[in-house]
Subunit: 415 residues, 2 copies
């Protein structure tokens, strides 16, 4: 990864005031070309740890592509990173963000396959939420002509993960059924769309009731996320479902496994509940890890069941499977070009509006993906509309109190 000089960067913090966004925007973009704007997480915690800061312009190392970023994807995972609630968290300050789209601005030595000016989307191992990023070419993909930059930023993480879970891990085929939580989110919509590419697949989804009208065409059976979906699913399909996609949260692991048909596959793919208001402190977050019960293989044998874990970022950045992901991206682009799938963008936010965007995903207000639009100016109206209280209030204080405890509590069982 490029030396971005996080520590050396001038820490001129441009905290966005609700009524001051526009002025600061102009100040920031007037800087010389050796600097760029980026969202910086000063330390793990609440929304107040996020700033937009000038940082040194990164330059591509050998094999890297330098991208002038147009749009970045915002995921639940970014909220977990903000809280430090991930395995082996990196040091702060850091620039969050794992995916972006933009235009190739420069190439490092021995970097073949791209030309300056190419429209691309990319995975980045942090540092995506900035005006410019550098990332190894194995994580960069050309985007098709018809795809906008926000669509491309909404595409890579969710569709690649959904595709790999459904088709590489679980072997989705005609006539099967799938249960997905947060069906209205970026991942849920990617899952629903990919299911629709296979004949006669039944999708069971949970979502907040206010989203049901908007997403009802993409999901066969929608349940209120606040009610117990198990009896609802069993009413429709007494035998259960073939594939359960579950974000990592203790409460649902046993329920989801219990809902599987014989030969069914249960996939843990990451956490959303753990960053919501349901968990009031780091201490209770630690407890929710405990609730992911260990699985007895003898029981899997007896019941003919499959349990899998899926982490796209680990696959890319720890396990060196970028060539496999490249094949999947190519397949997905074919599906996009054939108009079988299309990323659903919920809303666009300026870098300076990252807090409001995070609050929206935290509050499960989004239908589809939240995008940071790097060229967008903060919208005072949107900023005034913020519901920042619930997350940045007392809860956050409590989190910080327990920060020390948490590491001790959590580490032993995440190995």
């Amino acid at each position: 990864m490029a030396k971005e000089g996080v520590e050396k960067a001038e820490e001129t913090e441009h905290m966005i005031e609700k009524d001051g966004g526009k002025d600061q925007e102009s100040v920031l973009t007037a800087g010389d070309t050796k600097e760029m704007r980026a969202v910086v997480l000063a330390g793990f915690g609440g929304l107040n740890k996020l700033r937009v800061t000038k940082k040194a312009m990164p330059e591509p190392l050998e094999g890297e592509v330098k991208i002038r970023v147009k749009a970045c994807g915002l995921n639940f995972l970014d909220l977990m990173v903000r809280q430090g609630n991930i395995d082996n968290p990196p040091k702060t300050p850091l620039v969050p963000g794992f995916e972006c789209s933009g235009i190739v601005e420069a190439l490092g030595e021995n970097t073949k396959g791209f030309e300056i000016g190419d429209r691309v989307m990319a995975f980045v191992n942090y540092n995506a939420w900035a005006e410019v990023v550098c990332t190894p070419l194995e994580f960069v993909y050309k985007i098709p002509d018809g795809m906008t930059f926000p669509e491309a930023a909404a595409f890579s993480m969710n569709f690649v993960a959904a595709y790999m879970m459904l088709f590489e891990v679980a072997n989705l085929r005609e006539g099967m059924s799938v249960l997905v939580h947060s069906a209205g989110g970026g991942m849920g919509q990617a899952v629903a769309q990919l299911c629709s590419t296979v004949p006669n697949v039944t999708v069971f989804g949970t979502a907040s009731p206010f989203k049901h009208e908007a997403i009802k065409d993409s999901v066969t059976h929608l349940f209120d996320r606040n009610v117990d979906y198990v009896p609802e699913v069993k009413k429709i399909s007494p035998e259960g479902v073939d594939i359960v996609l579950d974000c990592l949260c203790g409460e649902n692991t046993g329920k989801g496994l219990g809902l599987l048909k014989p030969l069914g596959t249960y996939i843990l793919y990451g956490s959303s509940n753990m960053v919501t208001g349901e968990t009031k402190s780091f201490f209770s977050l630690a407890k929710s890890w405990w609730q992911v019960e260990k699985v007895n293989p003898i029981k899997l044998y007896d019941e003919n069941k499959v349990i899998a874990g899926f982490s796209l970022l680990n696959l890319l950045f720890k396990q060196g499977r970028s060539s496999l992901v490249k094949i999947v991206v190519d397949k997905l682009i074919s599906l996009y070009n054939a108009r079988k799938i299309k990323p659903l963008v919920d809303s666009l936010w300026a870098l300076e509006e990252v807090k409001e965007a995070m609050q929206r995903i935290h509050d499960r207000g989004n239908i589809g993906k939240l995008i940071l639009d790097v060229e967008k100016s903060p919208t005072p109206l949107m900023a005034n509309d913020s519901t920042e209280t619930s997350e940045a209030g007392e809860e956050e204080e409590e989190e910080e109190d327990h920060e020390g405890d948490t590491d001790k509590e959590r580490m032993p069982f995440i190995q």
Copy 2:
């Protein structure tokens, strides 16, 4: 299942003496048509619990097919049944055996799709090792013209299980790698042959050294089953393998999981080690169940791994998936007709030779499948050649001493 009157059957036990097989055979086959010969397990334990007995002729209930049996498959599972080392063991006396081939002799009411005289193979929920069996038509399949009865009896269990594990559970595709234990056995050979139907699949197999020459063409890399295969596999494929097929035995669970590539699948499919001389008593068998460690789903998430259990008999007889199995049998018959696969029969044994046959599978002497040939007369030479001592000797006594303890020890963790 048909009322076979196990308890009511005349318990005229025709124990086969090593030099008296032929005479008894003639006595038995001279019985009237209301009786048939069957292998009966009088109680759980060693080889001396097995007898060939006259039993009441079964008649088909509604939906059942009555089959004049020609050949039966003998599996490791039958040794476990003999020892009572299975979940919820049935009551003894019982007739063992889960698969056979033969000719349709009669049909129950409302039994469509077969005609008297059809050559068939079938799954049976016990009772296969007899001259006549009745089983629901959903478990009966016509066999292709070119397939012999012994081949058909060697076909259903191993090839269906191997196919479903490789293609339904694990999604075997071009270029992948598979590790299978007991590569020289009926299951191992089925796995190897099915892997050869997919381009560029690497098969790692373990087997006793004396089998290597015979099976070397079916397996890419063969290892001595007595040496640690992990470093051997890693020497050839440092990243590990895509699919590990493992019989249920504590020692190998962690090893097998550790050998998986990211996105790899580990499948527990049943037990072989648990019925061998490696476990000297029921008490130590119980301990081997303990060694199947529980799996932390967070670890699966972190490592992008899949763990599955597969039990064909549960799928058929507990979970009602016969229609799925039927589809698989049809695919396998197509592969057989295209000469892509062919069951490998190790040897044929008379019903009266079941002890010798079991001893051979216990001693891992077989290359391919052991078949009970119902029309075969016991071969005095083979009977004299028996190596019955190791299993029917002291070890067996010890087993019986611990029988009571075992149930208590074992039941809590097989649920």
